[in-house]
């Protein structure tokens, strides 16, 4: 790792690393929406904060966000197997039932999101409503935990035989919880950005500023940012000294700085938004830019840490062999066609919706 990521690696490895990191970043954005969003719904339900456009939006969009998180997870799942086949499969196998259980758990979680959206639930007793939202959050938290556990285990090659022999349900490792906490706390500002745009959109459709004021989202995001810094530090100091030095090494330093700048930019943007009674595109835009570069920066630093902890050079030959397989052109062609088709779907809906809104405004439709 003598050059800036991904340049210090052979072409084939660099190609898959880049694809992996970019697709993972997309997964992270949606996964954050799900974790922080259901977390927020759980907290506001239990504290009895009542219904707001925020909770309504979250509940309304959560099934779609979950689908997006899952769909976006498939792409890095493909590349992680090309990059780290043996380690990834081994930790999957060692976790066995526990690992497989994330799928039924996600199906249950998906179903609960629809229960949360249904009209009938309003007639249920409070405890039942709490149970539904807590359970939904629990499903996604469990899934996140399992991914982190799997990741950490995949890096502990020397422990594999013992872990197999003991066949415990959970793989205990002190690294897991702080790492997970970092992902969870870091999800709040990402949610802030996404839901900020959604709320701004509905603000445009109505005359009254809609509760909760942007300052609530901004404050939560600021707390999330502060928490991320805190847990990042905790995690950093838990790592071995030589692994730690990777963060400031050639490959990762630039990305570490990018992520830090991203955090600062988000902090500034949320700070300014906090004082505003209405959503402001400038601050939202800035927070979005900051969030995106933070997520990418963090994804790369995370990857450099992994690379330093396994014998990456031994995998070059496998990457090379995979890169020799054809099909890239097919992928590019259909990626472009399907991206255009997706854009068209979105356009269809957007133009139609503004037409409907215009008719509503002019009193044609009520």
């Amino acid at each position: 790792m003598e050059q800036v990521f991904p340049f210090g690696f052979p072409a084939a490895s660099a190609r898959y690393l880049t694809l992996y990191v970019l697709t993972l970043a997309v997964h992270v954005v949606f996964m954050h929406y799900v974790i922080a969003g259901t977390g927020w719904l759980a907290i506001s339900g239990i504290l009895g904060l009542g219904e707001s456009s925020l909770t309504k939006t979250l509940r309304d969009w959560m099934p779609a966000a979950l689908s997006a998180a899952i769909t976006a997870g498939v792409a890095p799942l493909l590349f992680v197997q090309i990059l780290y086949k043996h380690a990834f499969y081994t930790s999957n196998l060692l976790l066995f039932h526990r690992w497989m259980s994330i799928l039924p758990v996600l199906i249950v979680g998906f179903y609960l999101l629809y229960v949360m959206k249904s009209r009938q639930i309003n007639n249920w007793p409070l405890v039942a409503r709490w149970a539904v939202v807590l359970l939904a959050f629990g499903c996604f938290a469990f899934t996140g935990y399992s991914w982190t556990e799997n990741h950490v285990l995949s890096l502990q090659k020397s422990e594999w035989p013992t872990v197999f022999e003991q066949s415990r349900t959970f793989y205990g490792n002190a690294e897991i919880l702080p790492r997970l906490a970092l992902w969870f706390v870091g999800s709040v500002p990402t949610l802030g950005v996404l839901v900020g745009w959604q709320l701004r959109h509905s603000q445009n459709n109505a005359d009254e500023p809609i509760a909760p004021a942007p300052s609530v989202v901004a404050t939560a995001s600021l707390i999330g940012l502060a928490g991320s810094v805190l847990f990042a530090l905790v995690y950093f100091f838990m790592l071995d000294g030589d692994v730690r030095s990777v963060v400031t090494g050639r490959a990762a330093l630039l990305y570490f700085l990018i992520a830090t700048v991203g955090l600062a930019v988000q902090g500034y943007a949320w700070w300014r938004q906090r004082g505003d009674a209405r959503w402001d595109v400038r601050w939202l835009g800035l927070a979005t830019a900051g969030m995106l570069i933070t997520v990418i920066g963090v994804s790369v630093v995370r990857e450099c840490l992994r690379i330093a902890r396994l014998d990456f050079a031994a995998l070059y030959a496998e990457h090379e062999a995979a890169a020799g397989k054809s099909g890239l052109i097919v992928f590019f062609v259909f990626a472009v066609i399907n991206a255009l088709a997706i854009a068209w779907c979105v356009r269809l809906v957007c133009t139609r919706r503004s037409a409907v809104n215009a008719r509503v405004d002019s009193g044609e439709v009520t």
Partner: protein
């Protein structure tokens, strides 16, 4: 293919179940749901067209009702169980999925772009369909259907390659592997099945729509039943599929293996029942179909899927990728090498309950069993070795296991040393004797020499009919 040292993975014990049954079991759900999501999209397209062209205005009610929700749920659950299939394959044979990913990752990535389109088109229709123009609705449904069918198109290439890799063996060409001999028959077959499942499910849903009168229901059901019509092609496509199957797989299904034949009979029998009912009753006689019958037909379709999936998993034996990788994750080259060095000599994973074995030889046998046999056998439950060898003498066990590919051509050749084989034979015998607490170690060099002789006699090649293999390679 892997030329380096064997990649050892921890091998999990699935209890009394055969590993193939686990993947087959999940496969049934996944395939059924995912195929419904594909056919469901097509059916919605058709109904949208019926509604907007004024042919059946009523179709709109159906479209904006429960069916749309069902399709939505099934494409998400289909996606999750799809990831589940992936994870299960990792559990059962990491090396198989590794080889598939290496070979076909761009195809998978391509499939993923279709999948993204499917999600976006599906959700936008679900959410905004009611405020869109008819043309826009049809466009979204059309895109959804193309995308959903597209993902079938791509995955079908990879799955059919496992069974009939065709000219890929030898040339390594992606196109040859993808458009392999069973690609088209299985694509067409699965498309027909998707339409059938959707047609049947639509009949169930229409029956559940309380707001419709009996006549209205009949109108809709007659239309939905048209989706069952392609079933007339099933026998032809089925025969086509059979004609491209490797001869040994075909023999397997046609009586060679009781279990395979049974699953095949279920699949064919239930499909024929559905087809007959559809053609004679629904289409020919314009019968009405009530909720119970529709549900029953759905259940039959499920049974057909079940039979089909088990057959698909089963007929590949002894390979997971024909001629490239055996079911127990060993390649042909591995077999030859492991006969020299031993299959578990470098296996870093201990036994899970080592203390239950009275001596080291039995422990070795247990490791060999885990490595080479456990993917298809249990020790004393489903397809259990103690039952299969129950009446055999020691010598018979030694000979038949040494010449495993000759014993049954759907087993891979034994891939270890004579010492390992003797250890395995001792283990099976010890298990058969109900696990006594002490057990003698067998060290007779004559025995080992005889085993070596048998191993040499049978060679390291697969036991499938040589003529057929040569034809495939040429």
């Amino acid at each position: 293919m892997d030329a380096g040292p064997l990649p050892y993975y921890p091998i999990n014990d699935f209890g009394p179940a055969m590993k193939g049954m686990v993947i087959g079991g999940l496969g049934i759900f996944h395939v059924f749901i995912a195929q419904f999501a594909i056919g469901g999209g097509m059916l919605m397209c058709y109904f949208q067209w019926l509604a907007m062209t004024g042919r059946v205005p009523l179709a709109r009610k159906f479209l904006d009702g429960f069916f749309k929700f069902l399709v939505l749920v099934s494409f998400v659950v289909g996606a999750l169980t799809g990831v589940g299939m992936w994870f299960t394959t990792i559990q059962i044979s990491p090396r198989t999925i590794g080889m598939m990913v290496d070979e076909f990752h761009w195809i998978w990535a391509t499939e993923w772009t279709f999948f993204c389109l499917e999600i976006v088109a599906g959700y936008t229709f679900y959410r905004y369909g009611s405020i869109l123009t008819d043309k826009a609705r049809l466009a979204l449904l059309g895109l959804y259907s193309v995308a959903a069918w597209g993902s079938l198109f791509w995955i079908n290439g990879i799955l059919s390659w496992q069974l009939t890799p065709g000219d890929w063996i030898g040339s390594g060409s992606l196109a040859a592997g993808f458009f392999n001999p069973s690609f088209f028959p299985s694509l067409i077959f699965r498309t027909i099945v998707s339409m059938t499942i959707a047609g049947l499910a639509a009949c169930v849903v229409v029956n559940l729509m309380l707001e419709l009168s009996r006549e209205e229901k009949t109108t809709l059901i007659q239309r939905a039943a048209r989706f069952l019509m392609p079933m007339v092609l099933m026998p032809i496509v089925g025969l086509w599929f059979f004609s491209v199957l490797p001869e040994d797989s075909r023999d397997w299904v046609m009586g060679g293996s009781v279990a395979m034949t049974m699953f095949m009979t279920i699949a064919v029998g239930t499909s024929m029942l559905i087809g007959l009912y559809a053609l004679v009753g629904l289409i020919g006689q314009r019968l009405y179909i009530n909720g119970a019958t529709a549900s029953l037909l759905c259940a039959l379709a499920f049974a057909a899927t079940a039979g089909g999936e088990f057959v698909r998993e089963g007929v590949r034996k002894p390979y997971t990728v024909r001629q490239a990788l055996y079911s127990n994750s060993l390649t042909g080259e591995d077999v030859a090498r492991l006969r020299q060095v031993g299959s578990v000599t470098h296996d870093p994973y201990p036994l899970e309950n080592a203390s239950q074995y009275p001596n080291e030889q039995l422990k070795l046998g247990a490791k060999v069993f885990r490595m080479q046999c456990s993917v298809c056998h249990t020790m004393s439950a489903t397809n259990g070795l103690t039952h299969l060898t129950g009446t055999w003498t020691m010598e018979q066990k030694r000979l038949n296991i040494a010449q495993l590919q000759r014993t049954k051509s759907f087993m891979p050749p034994f891939a270890g040393t004579p010492e390992e084989l003797e250890a395995l034979v001792q283990l099976v015998t010890w298990e058969h004797a109900d696990r006594p607490t002490s057990w003698p170690v067998s060290t007779d060099t004559d025995v080992l020499n005889r085993i070596q002789q048998w191993l040499d006699d049978v060679g390291t090649e697969s036991g499938l009919k040589p003529g057929r293999l040569l034809a495939e390679a040429g």
